[in-house]
């Protein structure tokens, strides 16, 4: 056995172990949702059942949490995407010193523990007599989700040629037309990715929501309280639904990405052909 084939094997084993490490716990957790055992476990395997899914389906509290989560997530997307985009554009057209100063404040929420964001949001709005509730959860989540959107849009802005704005102005476009026809279309991919990330970040969020939610439930809080108060395999059923949903999203995302990549490659090929003509 040569050393290269040996290292190849080591690499394969390492990658395989990591994938197993990342996926096995999820499979065990999801599988327990199908096991007809009162305690959530895949072992011993008592038998296949759909009763945990029926329990989940008939749980009114779960549906309330779904509605709340959706509402909060959509609000977070609607607020954080415009804010993050505006902040990125602003950041991209100020002097370097102001830029690094503002940048520090903008990324700070990403590096702040969720509990701190949650408590500070709660206290701040309380001084205006706004009670804890989902509105505050939205505000707290926006404070760090907007930073993710800002980073995505800022990265996309690096590939933007400001000369295009000047060209459009020179051709008689107003500032509004420049933004609508030239700048924003260029930013669409980043804005779209930002919206997806904002949505998922909001749905997944636990820490900020825990301190700001008041008495309302979101999905993560619902699962959290279920875990604390007597575990039943309905949580596993819920996890399985979520995992399957994620897998479907991942597949769709990958198909779209590959299609876009193929189109880009075709365009590059025709451009190269045009160059030769």
């Amino acid at each position: 056995m040569t050393s290269t084939t040996f290292s190849k094997i080591v690499i394969r084993v390492y990658l395989g172990l990591f994938v197993a490490y990342m996926l096995l716990p999820l499979i065990i957790m999801g599988g327990a949702g199908l096991n007809n055992s009162r305690f959530p476990s895949v072992y011993p395997w008592v038998g296949f059942t759909d009763r945990w899914f029926i329990d989940l389906w008939t749980d009114e509290r779960m549906w309330g949490a779904v509605r709340n989560t959706t509402w909060v997530a959509l609000a977070v997307v609607a607020i954080s995407v415009p804010i993050g985009t505006a902040a990125a554009i602003l950041l991209n057209s100020v002097k370097p010193r102001a830029r690094s100063f503002l940048y520090g404040f903008m990324v700070a929420p990403i590096l702040t523990p969720g509990a701190v964001i949650g408590i500070s949001t709660l206290l701040f709005w309380n001084t205006f007599h706004v009670p804890a509730g989902l509105y505050l959860s939205v505000m707290g989540q926006v404070s760090f989700v907007a930073a993710y959107v800002m980073l995505l849009v800022l990265a996309r802005l690096q590939t933007f040629d400001p000369g295009l704005e000047e060209a459009a102005l020179d051709l008689g476009a107003s500032h509004g037309q420049v933004v609508r026809r030239i700048l924003v279309p260029h930013l669409y991919p980043a804005i779209g990715a930002g919206a997806i990330i904002a949505f998922f970040q909001s749905v997944e969020n636990f820490n900020v929501t825990l301190f700001t939610r008041g008495n309302s439930d979101t999905l993560t809080v619902y699962v959290g309280s279920k875990i604390r108060s007597g575990i039943t395999p309905t949580i596993n059923a819920f996890a399985l639904v979520l995992i399957i949903f994620t897998v479907i999203c991942a597949i769709i995302y990958e198909i779209l990405r590959r299609r876009a990549e193929r189109r880009a490659a075709e365009l590059a090929a025709t451009a190269a052909a045009a160059e030769l003509m």
Partner: protein, 365 residues
């Protein structure tokens, strides 16, 4: 269809740096005018001042007699062709071309017709629905020109648009640009650092250095009668001799150098007693076996021969070790001088000039 552009005593400062210094020139309606100079000479700043992306620190820009102060780029009768063309990558060709009409609220059908018409004008058929990334460099060039023409500008401003093309295409596009300008009659103001481009296309050329307009004249005048050493050496090749002006009779002066005395025409701003330089073009020099009585001559040895195709560059070394160049037409019937042969480099007093350095730079600043 076209307007004149009047630049009156324009200065442009960036902090303490004066990028444009007292430029004063009127570009006539329908003229093809080039600003020629090395990078950093202020020519791009002038273009941005005319297009309205900057306002001059001092002086005024008038287009068609109208002062442009405070008028934004989108309200000026100019269209700019950017160095990198700045075509909108997300729009098809025809939308690019008619973007200026779209923002003015022209209906779609009318815009489409206009796009087709302009594509004919720039000789680019069946490309209306292509994407920008599908076009070759030359095709992109044409789209950029069509896009600028679509808004029916009185003045076209071109910022080295040919610099990204390869040599052959560049030469082709020179003729094309010139033809489009003649067809449309629009005033073209062209920025370039390539003297070949400027001389080949322009009605008049303004040579710039360090923010100062050194000379404005026809291409022939610029080449044959440069006003100073900068213009002479930036446009075309020269053999240069350093020396002192001794005396003059008529427009011919005697010039004392370490390599002997020469007769030459005396340029502006040079007077007897000045120590300066003498410039002679390589194609005005000849090599002969014997020294000349009437013309200037200097004893040399042939050190290198470079065959360039339509002409031959012969490099020679004088007795003090300096190298000069003599350019001769390629003519198979005349034998080229042998390497290391001794000869005399001859040049006529009428074809060489004693010139001052460039006009004093950034004075009073």
């Amino acid at each position: 269809m076209s307007e004149d552009v009047q630049l009156s005593k324009i200065c442009m400062d960036f902090g303490s740096f004066r990028a444009v210094n007292n430029v004063d020139v009127t570009i006539k309606p329908g003229e093809f005018f080039s600003f020629l100079g090395p990078s950093g000479c202020g020519k791009t700043t002038i273009l941005r001042l005319i297009s309205g992306f900057m306002e001059p620190t001092e002086g005024s820009v008038k287009i068609g007699g109208k002062d442009m102060k405070g008028i934004r780029p989108n309200a000026r009768p100019t269209a700019l062709i950017f160095q990198n063309l700045a075509l909108f990558p997300l729009m098809p060709v025809w939308e690019n071309i008619t973007f200026g009409l779209e923002v003015r609220g022209v209906p779609k059908a009318q815009r489409r017709a206009k796009a087709e018409e302009l594509l004919q004008l720039v000789d680019l058929h069946d490309s209306a629905d292509k994407r920008i990334s599908q076009l070759s460099g030359g095709q992109k060039q044409r789209v950029a020109i069509a896009r600028a023409l679509a808004v029916e500008p009185k003045v076209m401003l071109l910022d080295e648009p040919l610099s990204a093309l390869d040599l052959k295409l560049r030469q082709h596009m020179r003729a094309e640009l010139r033809a489009i300008q003649k067809r449309t009659g629009v005033t073209f103001i062209y920025i370039t650092h390539d003297q070949g481009e400027a001389l080949a296309m322009s009605d008049r050329v303004g040579v710039m250095s360090q923010g100062i307009l050194q000379q404005v004249a026809t291409p022939q005048e610029i080449y044959n009668n440069p006003v100073n050493g900068f213009v002479a050496s930036f446009v075309g090749e020269n053999n240069v001799f350093v020396g002192t002006v001794k005396g003059k009779s008529g427009d011919i002066a005697t010039f004392e150098t370490a390599k002997g005395q020469f007769n030459a025409r005396l340029g502006a701003n040079v007077s007897v007693g000045d120590t300066t330089k003498l410039f002679v073009r390589p194609e005005f020099c000849t090599l002969q076996k014997t020294a000349s009585k009437s013309a200037n001559s200097i004893a040399v040895e042939v050190t290198e021969i470079a065959f360039e195709g339509n002409f031959v560059n012969v490099f020679v070394r004088d007795e003090s070790g300096d190298t000069h160049m003599v350019q001769v037409q390629n003519d198979p019937s005349i034998p080229t001088p042998a390497l290391h042969s001794k000869a005399h480099m001859i040049f006529d007093p009428q074809s060489c000039m004693i010139l001052s350095e460039a006009t004093d730079t950034r004075s009073g600043h």
